[in-house]
Symmetry: C2
Subunit: 313 residues, 2 copies
């Protein structure tokens, strides 16, 4: 895995580095303030149902854009509208142009490829490039919002997420009792949630800071120890994705009633961009399905400020 | 309660009849094919959070329109876009004009008024008119989609909902284990679901027929007897709203394993427009909150065909 060049300060620079294979690892921390996106590529027969899945479950599955037509990998149809400070969209806004000079087949640092529901890359394909696997007239790519945007805003507000300070990945859990609303072939999916611990007294501020990030999962979907069972999370110490949560002191025991520096923390849960990937895997689709490798996102040309009307990120 | 004049064949005619108090009862069956809407009126301080509640929970809370500005009762800002047969919205469509000559204070046949969380109408107010209670610069009205649209489509497809054939109200249940995604002050709400029984073999057709009715709750959110417990429904025989379900033969025993004419039916659940009303009541808002009386909807000028691209309704 190549280490990220320090010159990657824009989304375009990150994409070019991924395209040239100078960058093959995670994008966290690169091109600060540029919007990062999850990538899902489907055969066109599933596109309408996937679009509907996102429309019915916009919190875990915020759809930012898709291929401008089946097979298109260099042009996007954007669904991201400029923020409106009146908090009510104007009647006919134009969507933001999310990226120029983009190639969805090469511009994520690494990819995953599934055939008939089974992971085949990186075992039998170059994991940094899906040019060979891309169907010229049939594949449709979808870009989904990501919580990197609000992690920066929480930091700015003095509410830095603990996993960032610890240089770890955020813990993510399958919320087995929280089904997605079904859409066409996408039946039986559940929410995947990310977790950041906070003091109970901080939750209303945390909610307020993340609320405006609508295209990046927005405010939490649940919080408190009671939510663990209600959501259907199996074991807080063993997240299904990401790194296990540590206490502020670095202990593995993060749990109900545990005091850290004399304070009790509670888990706060957000919708997570792994949700639509899991829904796609659960649906057992036939044909070739692709996505970015975990953490290796597609970075766009628009900034958090342009999308969410937030400053000082 | 005045009986509905048979001349009420358009949304405008229904609104005029309600405005003149010739019509003070339910709108089911009136102005067939015209879009009917749930009404919620809030003090402006809650408008942004309510809009966000709808954006995060679009299946139970499909927001059709709102007052064009706080206090406005004669002009709407529409969020309903013309259907796109490519199944992907064009970049800058214009929303449909939902109604001309509308007065949201008089055009529902009957209303409910809450002050500081307590129902006061129809006890101390004229229930057919909220002109006196409407705040000239502060109230914001919201219109929410309704399942009457797809009931007609199911009938056309040979899948007439049983409650329609029995001339009863659809049974509606509190899905206590299916929380709404919170938004600002709206915390702790749950989905309210409507139920229509079908044979298991009919479910995929029922899903397909209702799928396109996105602004009217769309396809079911769950089905089968297993869903009763998963959703957190207390007692299928005792819906919290509407009429108790009867079997096809008119018996009260509709339950798992019960055969009707040699076939077993399963419950199919949809999101329900009572959801946002309940969320508002649960939030215990201060000030004057209003809505239509149950079944007494606001009928609009657009038809199902214009909104959902369906014919033969």
């Amino acid at each position: 895995m190549a280490s990220p060049p320090s010159t990657l300060t824009t989304g375009h620079a990150v994409r070019l580095a991924a395209r040239s294979k100078a960058l093959t690892g995670p994008t966290a921390g690169l091109a600060p303030s540029y919007l990062q996106a999850n990538l899902i590529v489907l055969p066109s027969q599933y596109a309408a149902d996937f679009r509907l899945l996102c429309a019915r479950n916009p919190v875990p599955c915020p759809l930012l854009a898709e291929s401008s037509r089946p097979g298109a990998f260099r042009s996007l149809r954007s669904y991201v509208y400029p923020p409106d400070n009146t908090n009510a969209p104007s009647p006919s806004p134009r969507p933001l142009v999310l990226a120029k000079d983009i190639d969805l087949r090469t511009d994520a640092p690494a990819y995953r490829v599934f055939r008939d529901g089974h992971l085949v890359a990186p075992t039998d394909t170059d994991p940094t490039d899906i040019t060979a696997a891309w169907h010229a007239t049939d594949h449709v790519a979808f870009l989904i919002g990501c919580s990197f945007s609000f992690d920066a805003a929480l930091h700015t507000a003095g509410l830095a997420p603990r996993h960032v300070a610890q240089n770890r990945n955020v813990p993510m859990y399958r919320a087995a009792r929280t089904p997605l609303l079904p859409a066409g072939v996408f039946v039986g999916g559940v929410h995947v949630v990310s977790m950041r611990p906070y003091r109970a007294s901080e939750i209303e501020r945390v909610r307020a800071v993340t609320r405006r990030f609508g295209a990046a999962h927005g405010e939490p979907l649940a919080w408190g120890w009671g939510a663990v069972q209600a959501l259907g999370i199996k074991d807080m110490q063993c997240p299904e994705w990401g790194d296990a949560p540590l206490t502020g002191g670095g202990s593995r025991v993060f749990g109900e009633g545990v005091e850290e520096d004399g304070e009790k923390y509670v888990p706060v849960f957000w919708g997570c961009g792994v949700t639509p990937q899991e829904a796609v895997v659960c649906a057992n689709l036939s044909g070739t399905v692709m996505g970015h490798a975990p953490g290796c996102m597609v970075v766009l040309d628009v900034t958090d400020e342009e999308v969410f009307a937030v400053k000082g990120m």
